[in-house]
């Protein structure tokens, strides 16, 4: 429950940033915060209190794995989405750099978007 609240708080902060900030670098940061919250939310779907990570290392877990482990599937999907997020951030930063070299400022213009 605390994980869900934290994730939704992070997503709200990120969405507020995306809607209200005017600096492009801060927009990239806000997007990253939103994405972190989203990943945390997806991971929290598979989380069950009191159970271990899906790694079969202890002998007790290996004998009867099902009652001891959390759901591995959301973790795998988040693993993919984290990498995609890194790549998107890199491409966004390149666009920010190009915009700065062209106009000399990081602020979004007031009109014309």
């Amino acid at each position: 429950m605390i994980i869900v609240i934290t994730a939704i708080a992070l997503m709200s902060v990120g969405m507020w940033g995306l809607f209200s900030l005017r600096n492009m670098l801060k927009l990239v940061f806000a997007f990253n915060i939103f994405e972190t919250g989203l990943n945390l939310l997806i991971v929290s779907i598979g989380f069950i209190p009191g159970k271990a990570a899906p790694i079969l290392d202890l002998p007790g877990i290996r004998e009867n794995p099902l009652p001891h482990l959390v759901d591995p599937l959301p973790s795998v999907l988040v693993l993919t989405s984290i990498v995609i997020g890194v790549v998107i951030t890199a491409v966004m930063l390149v666009f920010v750099v190009l915009y700065y070299r062209k106009t000399g400022s990081l602020e979004l213009p007031d009109q014309g978007i």
Binding site: M1, V4, I5, I8, A9, M11, S12, M15, W16, L41, S44, I45, G46, F47, I48, A53, P54, I55, L56, D57, R62, P65, L66, L69, V70, D71, P72, L73, S75, V76, L77, L79, T80, I82, V83, I84, V86, V87, I88, A90, V91, L93, V94, F95, V97, L98, R101
Partner: protein, 219 residues
């Protein structure tokens, strides 16, 4: 107001759910990872074999992004060569990086070659390799990197991953099936068939791509 509504809907959707068992698909994955693949980390066969197409497309997205970044920052390099300044690293940076950088490289190799045994995997290891390169740029701020050699390594690793995936199609009849190598004992380093091989190849590829992305931002 809109944000409060957004948060309330999400809280209602996710907060009221109290799970105590895992879905049947995940149960089947856990049992198959233990009995068929003998992989200690349950995530590894899901990521590389059953849902391997996701990883395949992910690598293609990484490659496309690296290509796009190289294309977009192509003009900047020409402009950047005119106003070249001489930078020097401080003594603290040089000593600290000399300690940390070998550790980071060894740690990244450990992370992606033990991905089928412990938490971690190719993408995490690759990113750690890239952070080791960031340390290298702190110490040598003026040196240029041989991008062409890196591209060759990246292409070789991409082709090697394609070959490891296609071997499953040729020998066993299904794409991304790692079962053409012996499965081994669960918990050993040589276990889980060809999954460690795929992880090592992907790890090197992701690491090289991270290095390329970071080096493009230096210009």
């Amino acid at each position: 107001m809109v944000l409060a509504l957004f948060a309330a809907i999400l809280l209602y959707g996710f907060g009221t759910r109290i799970p105590d068992t895992i879905p049947a698909v995940s149960q089947a994955y856990i049992l198959a990872a233990q009995n068929e693949y003998s992989s200690q980390n349950v995530l590894t066969p899901i990521l590389l074999s059953w849902r391997g197409f996701d990883t395949f497309g992910e690598l293609i997205i990484l490659f496309m992004a690296t290509t796009a970044i190289s294309f977009l920052s192509r003009k900047n390099q020409r402009k950047g060569s005119e106003r070249k300044t001489h930078l020097e690293a401080t003594r603290v940076t040089v000593s600290g990086v000399a300690v940390l950088q070998p550790l980071l490289f060894v740690f990244s190799v450990y992370i992606f070659s033990f991905g089928h045994l412990s938490p971690g995997g190719a993408f995490q290891g690759g990113v750690i390799l890239g952070s080791g390169f960031v340390m290298w740029t702190l110490v040598h701020p003026n040196e240029e990197l041989k991008i062409n050699a890196l591209s060759v390594i990246e292409a070789i690793c991409g082709i090697a991953y394609l070959i490891t995936a296609l071997l499953g199609l040729i020998l066993l009849g299904s794409f991304l099936d790692p079962g053409y190598l012996p499965f081994g004992e669960i918990g050993n380093f040589f276990s889980a068939a060809a999954l460690p091989l795929m992880y090592i190849v992907i790890g090197i590829k992701v690491g090289v791509e991270m290095i390329k992305i970071v080096s493009k931002f230096r210009a």
